[in-house]
């Protein structure tokens, strides 16, 4: 059952007086797919880490009815799955099977239940037969799928993706879009790859210099040229190329 996300007045800084997130407030409905865009260093990935309680700033972050905090960490991590940008950072076990099993075992599932979960997840991700493969011997596309599988095995209510489309060839991007569109959880996707993002998300939020600049339906946001330009996401280059090569 997907959970909603409520963020109110979230502020966070790594160094004193240099806030990476400044008074961010955002509501995401259960089952919604929200895209987050913004220039590099805007605070997008930092915001994702707050959803899972890896970072805790001042303000309130609530997943469903659970407020993210030290006491609720175990519950929050069961509810929110994070898919990191670089799959090598996510896959730290020797084999694919053990990596997928890591979450369920940590959350107290028995070996038999975990084994079933691993097989189900592998089947859902078209990764059957990869159980005994070593993660670092897989292609980037396969590693990205395994990274997503490690999160899906926990059955999270919310899945947060950090740059899921980076380093993928167009065919893999299409495959990933299909996978993401088939997920039933609440999705938060941070990405600089604007074209794949708009084919996944109904709503888009723009973050710049740690502040939430805008949030709204994707058509409104993407068509607001001034907003996109001022947020460092000038799309005129894409428009020009698309007109030149892809119009019939």
């Amino acid at each position: 059952m997907p959970a909603g996300i409520h963020i109110k007045n979230l502020t966070f800084s790594y160094a004193p007086d240099k806030p990476v997130l400044n008074n961010v407030s955002l509501d995401i409905n259960p089952g919604e797919k929200l895209g987050i865009i913004g220039p590099s260093g805007a605070g997008k990935s930092t915001l994702l880490l707050h959803l899972n309680g890896i970072l805790t700033g001042s303000g309130v972050v609530r997943i469903g009815e659970t407020v993210v905090g030290k006491k609720s960490l175990s519950e929050i991590r069961r509810k929110v799955g994070l898919v990191f940008q670089n799959p090598d950072d996510q896959l730290f076990n020797p084999t694919v099977e053990e990596d997928i099993a890591f979450g369920p075992l940590n959350f107290g599932l028995s070996i038999e239940e975990t084994d079933r979960k691993v097989q189900d997840t592998l089947r859902a991700m078209n990764l059957e037969g990869f159980e005994k493969y070593e993660s670092h011997h897989l292609s980037m596309g396969e590693r990205k799928r395994v990274a997503l599988a490690t999160v899906l095995a926990i059955n999270p209510e919310v899945i947060a993706f950090d740059e899921p489309f980076s380093s993928l060839d167009p065919a893999m991007v299409l495959q990933l879009i299909t996978l993401i569109n088939g997920l039933e959880a609440t999705l938060v996707i941070v990405s600089q790859s604007i074209l794949p993002l708009i084919s996944c998300c109904e709503r888009i939020a723009v973050i710049n210099k740690g502040e939430l600049v805008a949030v709204g339906p994707r058509d409104e946001i993407i068509k607001d040229r001034e907003l996109m330009r001022s947020s460092g996401m000038d799309l005129s280059f894409y428009t020009k190329i698309c007109r030149e090569y892809f119009t019939e």
Binding site: I54, N86, D89, Q90, P94, A101, G103, N106, D115
Partner: protein, 258 residues
């Protein structure tokens, strides 16, 4: 990046590889304790241990060149530690000639040989199974949790360090025509610092990823281990031979060369 400098020979098929990791751990650590417990200055029993270990290496099919290279890496430390004993005697007591220090040199040689034999045994152990299987074996043997976690994290992070070293070396080489001509020390110093900083940052991300999937200080294991009767038989046989050498030596000079 693809590398396998720790698990390089773990996929070989040999009688040693097929043993249960727990049995191997117990046998190897028992053998090391027996070797180390030999009285100081005893050389001849060490020759017999060496012979047995050589047979074990042959059985494991791990190339002897690989094992020797591992011994070479640690040999400076072992030799320095062993040489410390006669040198300390030379510095603190009156001595007439090197000849008079013969017993001390004998002790130094026995210390060095014991250490080298232990390194060979550990190299065979690590090369005869996947490292994570050994960790699982350690956990099942109720080794302290902290040792298991430290070993697992070290195993994971050593690859990160290696990755970063490879990346920075490639970056350096791509902009270096042949050998470095100027500023060698500065370049290597900067590179080393960068390797550690980048490894530290990546390690943090990996740790975050572990935390996000419920990691609370323990690596759960999926594989079920099973000990066969033959595993117990081979390991007992191995330990008994070591014990026999050790006890024979003590019980009245069965070694005529002593």
């Amino acid at each position: 990046m693809k590398h396998s400098f720790i698990d390089k020979y773990s996929d070989l098929e040999s009688p040693v590889h097929s043993l249960d990791p727990r049995v191997k751990l117990i046998a190897v650590f028992s053998a090391i304790i027996i070797i180390v417990s030999e009285p100081r200055g005893e050389i001849i029993p060490l020759v017999f241990y060496a012979l047995l270990i050589f047979i074990l290496v042959l059985l494991s099919r791990v190339p002897t060149g690989f094992i020797l290279s591992r011994c070479l890496i640690v040999s400076p430390f072992i030799l320095a530690a062993a040489a410390f004993y006669p040198i300390s005697i030379m510095l603190t007591e009156n001595y007439q000639s090197l000849q008079s220090l013969r017993p001390e040199f004998k002790v130094a040689v026995s210390v060095a040989v014991k250490a080298l034999l232990s390194v060979v045994l550990l190299t065979v152990l690590v090369s005869s199974d996947k490292f994570h299987n050994l960790l699982l074996g350690m956990r099942r043997l109720k080794m302290p949790k902290l040792i298991g976690i430290l070993s697992a994290l070290m195993y994971r992070y050593i690859f990160i360090l290696y990755d970063e070293a490879l990346r920075t070396t490639r970056a350096r080489d791509s902009r270096t025509p042949g050998k470095l001509r100027t500023g060698k020390l500065k370049t290597f110093g900067n590179q080393s610092a960068l390797i550690f900083l980048r490894s530290w940052e990546r390690s943090q991300t990996i740790h975050n990823s572990m935390l996000s999937r419920g990691f609370e200080g323990e690596f759960p294991g999926m594989r079920k281990l099973s000990v066969r009767r033959t595993d117990i038989f081979y390991s007992l046989f191995f330990i008994i031979i070591f014990l026999a050498i050790r006890l024979t030596n003590h019980s009245g000079g069965c070694f005529p060369f002593n």
